[in-house]
C-alpha cells in the first residue's frame, strides 16, 4: 500500500513545464519529506497531485494504492483518501468551520445517510482540544481573519477529521512562530501511524526537527535528485542548496558527451 508518483511531468496550463519526470513512493505508515529551493516545483507537485485546474499533467501517473487518481476530479481524489494541507489556506466568508468540515464528512457518506450530530461534535471538540483550538472557532467563517498559526492548525484539524490515507503537507511551517509550529507538529505526529502516509514539503529543515521523516528527498528542477535519511536535511541546512546544484552540474557536465 503506497502512494506512487511515477515519471510525473506537469506544467502550468498553456505555460511553463515545472515537473520533469518526478518519481516517488510513499508507503503507508511512513513520513517522507521533500526539500528544495524556491522554484524547484514543490508546491506545484502538491497541487498537481490534488488536481488543481491551473496545472496539466503531460506524462506520468499518480497511483493511490494502485489506482491512478489523475483522471479524477479533486473532490474524488480527496474521498479516495488523499489530503492536501494548503500552504495558503483559503478564506470562505459566511461558511462556518463546523459547517465546512461537516460538509466534507457528509460528502464521504452514501446518499441518504446523515452525519450524526452529537458524534460529529464529540470528534470535532476532541481534535480541537488536541490542537489547542478554542471552541468559538466552530462558528467562525473558514479561515477568515485567522492568523497564520490558526490557519495551519485548521488544516491539521481537517486532516484529523477526514482521516486520509495519504497526506501532503505543503509548507505547513511557513508563517508559524515556534509555539504554533510545536502545536501543529504535535497534531501531525499524533496522526502518524500504520494507516497514514505523509509527504512533508518544506523549504527549511526546522519543521523536520518536530516531524521526523523516514526519508528526505531533494527536489531540483522538477525532479528528485537525491534521497537519503533525515541526516540529509541537516546537511542541506548546513550547506544550503547550492551544494546540491553544484554537484548536479558537475554530474551533468560529466555525463555530457564532449563535442569535438
Amino acid at each position: 500500500m503506497s502512494l506512487v508518483i511515477h515519471n510525473l511531468h506537469a506544467r502550468v496550463v498553456g505555460g511553463q513545464q515545472i515537473l520533469r519526470g518526478l518519481n516517488l513512493e510513499i508507503e503507508k505508515g511512513s513520513v517522507h519529506a521533500i526539500m528544495g529551493p524556491n522554484g524547484s516545483g514543490k508546491s506545484t507537485l502538491s497541487k498537481v497531485i490534488a488536481g488543481h485546474p491551473d496545472y496539466e499533467v503531460t506524462a506520468g501517473e499518480v497511483l493511490l494504492d494502485g489506482v491512478n487518481v489523475l483522471g479524477m476530479e479533486p473532490d474524488a481524489r480527496s474521498r479516495a483518501g488523499l489530503f492536501l494541507a494548503f500552504q495558503y489556506p483559503v478564506e470562505i466568508p459566511g461558511v462556518s468551520n463546523a459547517n465546512f468540515i461537516r460538509a466534507a464528512l457528509q460528502a464521504r457518506l452514501a446518499a441518504g445517510e446523515e452525519l450524526e450530530a452529537t458524534e460529529y461534535y464529540g470528534d470535532l471538540y476532541k481534535e480541537m482540544d488536541r490542537l489547542e483550538i478554542p471552541r468559538n472557532f466552530t462558528a467562525r467563517s473558514v479561515n477568515e481573519g485567522f492568523s497564520g498559526g490558526e490557519k495551519k492548525r485548521n488544516e491539521v484539524l481537517q486532516m484529523a477529521m477526514l482521516k486520509p490515507a495519504y497526506a501532503i503537507l505543503d509548507e505547513t511551517d511557513s508563517g508559524l512562530d515556534i509555539d504554533a509550529l510545536k502545536v501543529v507538529s504535535a497534531g501531525v505526529n499524533a496522526l502518524r501511524g500504520p494507516n497514514l502516509g505523509v509527504l512533508v514539503i518544506t523549504h527549511y529543515q526546522r519543521l523536520l526537527d518536530y516531524i521526523t521523516p523516514d526519508v528526505v528527498h531533494v527536489l531540483v528542477g522538477g525532479r528528485i535528485v537525491r534521497s537519503a535519511g533525515p541526516e540529509l536535511a541537516l546537511e542541506l541546512e548546513a550547506k544550503g542548496y547550492d551544494w546540491i546544484r553544484d554537484e548536479l552540474s558537475e554530474a551533468a557536465l560529466a555525463a555530457e558527451p564532449v563535442l569535438a
Binding site: 490534488a50 488536481g51 488543481h52 485546474p53 476530479e73 479533486p74 473532490d75 481524489r77 480527496s78 474521498r79 489530503f83 492536501l84 494548503f86 489556506p89 483559503v90 478564506e91 470562505i92 466568508p93 459566511g94 461558511v95 459547517n99 465546512f100 468540515i101 460538509a103 466534507a104 460528502a107 464521504r108 467563517s141 481537517q158 477526514l162
Partner: protein
Amino acid sequence: MSESLLQAPLAAEPFPNQPDWFRDARQQAALRFDALPRPSRTDEAWRFSNLRAFDPQDFTPARPVGLELTDSLLPLSLGADSHAGSLVFANDKLVARTRSAVSEQGVLWMSLEEAVAQHPALVQRYFMQSDSLFGSAKHLALHQASVRTGTFLYVPKGVHVEAPLQSFHWLAGSGQAVFPHTLLIAEEGSSVTFVDWFKAHNDARNLACGVHDLHVGAGAQVHYVSVQDWSRQTVALHSNTTVVGAGAKAVHLSLHLGGSFARSESVSHLRGPGARSEMLAATVADGAQEFDQRTLQDHGSPDTSSDLLYKNALYNEAKTIVAGLIRVAPHAHRTDAYQKVRNLVLSAEAEAVSLPGLEILADQVRCSHGATTGEINREELFYMQARGISESDAYRLITYGFLNEVIERLPENSLRVRLQDSLQARLQGH
C-alpha cells in the same frame, strides 16, 4: 388596474369600529389609485424594471381560507425557536396567535384592525404617513384602499422586548391579492426585534402589496426582518419606510426568496443626531425571477450614519436591480453613509444591474458606495473540492456563505438559525 380589486375589500368593511378619518383616508386612497397613471418604464424610478410582469386584472382580494387549511398552516408557522409571540394571518385574516407575555410590559401587540378600534389615536399618528419616493404612489394607494389587516406593534418608552416577535402571512389559492401591513412603533429608549414571514401555501400566481413602516424613537433599537418567501409566480410589491430618531438604531434585514416579479422599496429617514440605520438584504434569484430593489438613505440630521449591504445571488435567467441613493441634506454635517451592493452571478444568462447614486449637500461627510459583480472564486472552489466536497455542493456552500454573511449581521442567534435554514432550503436543487 381593475376596479374589482378595490370594490370587494371596501364593501366588506374589514375594520369594525373604524374612525371616520380612517374610512375617509381609505376612500381617498381608492380615488387616488384610480386617478394615478400606472408606472412606466420611462420613469427613472422604474428604469430597467419589467412592468409587463404585473397585470392587476388577474387578481381579486384574497378569500378566507378554510379551517382545515388553517390547521395545516399553523404547524408551519414556527419561526425562531425562542420568540416572544406570534400572529398568524392567512389570506389577510388573523387566524391564530400565541399567548404572549409582552402585554405585561405594556407592549401593544395585535392586528391592525384591533389597533384601529382600540388605539385609533396612535394609529392615526403613524399610519401611512410617508409619500412614495420611488414612483409607487399608485401601489401605496392600492395598499391603503385595500388593506384589511396586518401587525401593530407598539413598544412603550424604555421597554426592552428580549425575544423576537413574529408574524406569518400566508397566501393560499390562485389569483388572490393580499395587502399585509406592518406598523411598528418603538418609543424612546426601547428595543424590539420583529420578523415578518411572507409565505406561500401553494405555487400559484398571486399578488402581494405590502407596506411596512417602522418608527424608531430616540435612543431606541429596532431589528426588523422580513422573509419574502411568496410563491415563485407571485407579484410582490413591498414598501418600507423607517424613521430613526436621535441616537436610535434601526436594522432592517430582508431575505428575498420568492416572487416572479418582486419590487421592494426601502427608505431610511435619519432624523436626529446619532441616528443610525443598517439596511441589509440577501436575495436568491433563479429561473426568470426579477428582483427590483430601490433604496434611499436619507440623512436629514448631522452626525447620522447608515450602512447598506445588499447581496444578490443569480442563477439561470434571473435579474436583479439595486438602485440605491444616499441623500445628505444641507445641514446634515458629519454624515457617515456607506452603501455596498454585491452580486454573485452563477449563470451567463443572469443579469445584475446596480445603480448607485449620491446627492450630497452638506460638508464634512463620509459617503462611499460600491457595487461589485463576480463569479464563484476558483480558489475557494478548489479548496472545498480538495476536502471531498463535490463541485455542485461547493458552489451551493459558497453561495450560501456569500448570502449568510448578511444574516450573520443579526445578533439574535435562534432567529439567525431559522433564516439560515430558509436560505439553505432555498438553495437546495442548485
